[in-house]
Amino acid sequence: MTSGPPASSLIAEATNPIIRWEWVVEEWDQVWEAIVEHLTLTMMAMALGLVVSSILAAIALRHRWAMTPITATTSLIYTLPSVALFALLAPVWGNLSRWTAVVPLAGYTLLILVTNIVAGFQAVPPSVRDAADGMGMSRARRVRTVDLPLAVPYIVTGIRIATVSTVGLVTVAAIIGQGGLGRLIFSGLRRAFWTPMTVGASLSIVLALLLDAVILMIGLWLAPWQRRRRAARS
């Protein structure tokens, strides 16, 4: 058997396929850990993002003038390139805790979430508010029992978009040593070994689709009147 460049590259191809299932089986613990890590980072970022954007949206809804600076700031954060931001934050933060990843990830959700929450409350028909006020509903009660439920479909839409984009961004956090499935992708890249890359990339796509579907279902469950409306239209 003679060895030459074409043959060795063939061997390399043979030993480095797009996916090698034995690796997946052998390294399942590591894969599972990456999935859990990815989910945890996504959920923490979303939770933090929701808290902050709810506060910002409440301010924007109460004070009209605040909407412009809030939109400007959250837009600015949104335009920052994620790789650059993580790269900059790593030395600044020093200690590469999970929060080093979560805080910027949450920052990226703000624009989408604030915009959708504000849009949801603004979409409450004025006649509905007038009727609520005219029947003697207090402001607090109206916000809680009328405005908020009616804003839910918009808010859920915002959460879906933000979640899907966060799942994607989490992979980038791998450059600071966090990032769940992103770590698999990066380690594969470093070693020119396709399998972890394929597994990391495809699982992050599956995760994004899965979360999107789950949130969609939760949204429909929270807004049964919309469900019926859809059914009536079709």
Partner: protein
């Protein structure tokens, strides 16, 4: 009007909006009798909606007082006040995320009623406004505009408030549904006897549903406060005259029922009557036709020439050729409907069919006389 009959009293009420030139409502005083429907009628910008919204304090008056059942509206919290006043608006404003039952139960829930009492009340109101009970578990978007408006009325009546405020309540539905909802409101009012203040820019609507109309001009100035019939018969000034339109004579006809006229027999005899009676009836009325009744029912018209020829032949009156009456009205028909029927049947008389029995006749001359007189009783509400 006796003091005790006043439900809502506005005294010197003025509303000035910031930055607006002139008051939206300037020194308005108005008494609204308990259990009646008062229409605030006028062009847009006349302050009618502002006036309405000051009654439940969605707008606070700049000065003046508003009392409901003798109690100043400012003496309690706005929310407390509003829970005791029904409120219906043009876009209905149903809560899209609550079922019909949930919508109707809004005020009882706020008032902390027990669930069973609320549920009972919801059922009762559903029947009252003529809604299908199946609809209670649906959402507002699944209902037609007319059905939504009925739910709006049911919701406003939920806690049985003595006063109902309605802001252009039927403005968003098509004319046919509007007419039906107006009739339903009158039927409902017969049962519940609320004090209703209804804002509208539609003269016909005001004429059709109101007991009294306050016709307002810019600045909340009341140009005329009158019953619908008075408003049509005697407009107080040029503004009123131009606002109610040139066809107010016809509109007045639509406000009054045939029953408001003094019925008269006309040239009509029973078939058993003799020819002498027939000749007498013909002579009195001076007509060339004669009506025949059988057992109290109108059987048809005969020609006087045929009657006389039959008499000469010795044929009984009952056998003279009869023609079916084309124009037939009921006592509750409007004078306008009676006139239309008479005109379109190319005759000058309509037979009044009173529950199957002959009730008399109404002629164009009767209608003309009624229009020129001041005292056709306003029969609206029974129409």
């Amino acid at each position: 009007m006796a003091e005790a009959e006043i439900s809502i009293r506005l005294t010197g009420v003025t509303k000035e909006f910031d930055g607006a030139t002139g008051a939206a409502v300037d020194d308005l005083s108005l008494d609204i009798e308990r259990g009646t429907i008062m229409a605030l009628l006028g062009p847009s910008g006349c302050g009618k909606t502002t006036t309405l919204r000051m009654i439940n304090r969605l707008i606070e008056p700049t000065s003046g007082t508003i009392e409901i059942e003798g109690v100043d509206v400012m003496s309690q919290s706005a929310q407390e006040l509003r829970r005791g006043i029904g409120y219906v608006i043009q876009q209905v404003g149903l809560f899209p995320h609550r079922t019909i039952a949930g919508n109707i139960a809004t005020v009882p829930t706020m008032l902390g009623w027990e669930k069973s009492r609320t549920a009972e009340r919801v059922e009762e109101l559903t029947t009252l406004v003529g809604l299908d009970h199946e609809m209670l578990q649906r959402y507002p978007d699944e209902l037609s505009g007319g059905q939504q408006q009925r739910v709006g009325v049911a919701r406003a009546l939920a806690a049985d408030p003595p006063v109902l405020l309605m802001d252009e309540p039927f403005g968003a539905v098509d004319p046919i549904v509007r007419g039906r909802l107006q009739d339903e409101l009158l039927d409902l009012q017969d049962k519940v006897s609320k004090t209703i203040v209804l804002v509208t820019h539609d003269v016909d609507e005001a004429l059709r549903v109101a007991d009294r109309i306050a016709l307002m001009n810019v600045g909340g100035v009341i140009e005329q406060l009158a019953t619908p019939d008075e408003l049509m018969r005697a407009p107080a000034n040029d503004f009123v005259e131009s606002f109610v339109g040139e066809d107010r004579g016809l509109r007045r006809l639509a406000l009054n029922a045939v029953s408001a006229l003094r019925f008269h027999q006309g040239p009509v005899v029973d078939q058993a009557a003799g020819y002498d009676d027939a000749e007498r009836a013909i002579a009195i009325e001076g007509t060339d036709w004669l009506g025949i009744t059988i057992d109290g029912r109108f059987a048809g018209w005969t020609r006087v020439d045929d009657v006389r020829a039959a008499r000469a032949d010795g044929t009984p009156l009952a056998d003279v050729e009869r023609f079916d009456p084309i124009a037939q009205v009921e006592p509750s028909s409007t004078l306008r409907a009676a006139m239309e029927l008479i005109m379109s049947s190319n005759s000058s008389v309509a037979v009044i069919n009173d529950g199957g029995r002959f009730g008399g006749v109404v002629t164009l001359e009767d209608i003309r006389r009624a229009l020129s007189s001041d005292d056709i009783e306003a029969a609206h509400g029974t129409i």
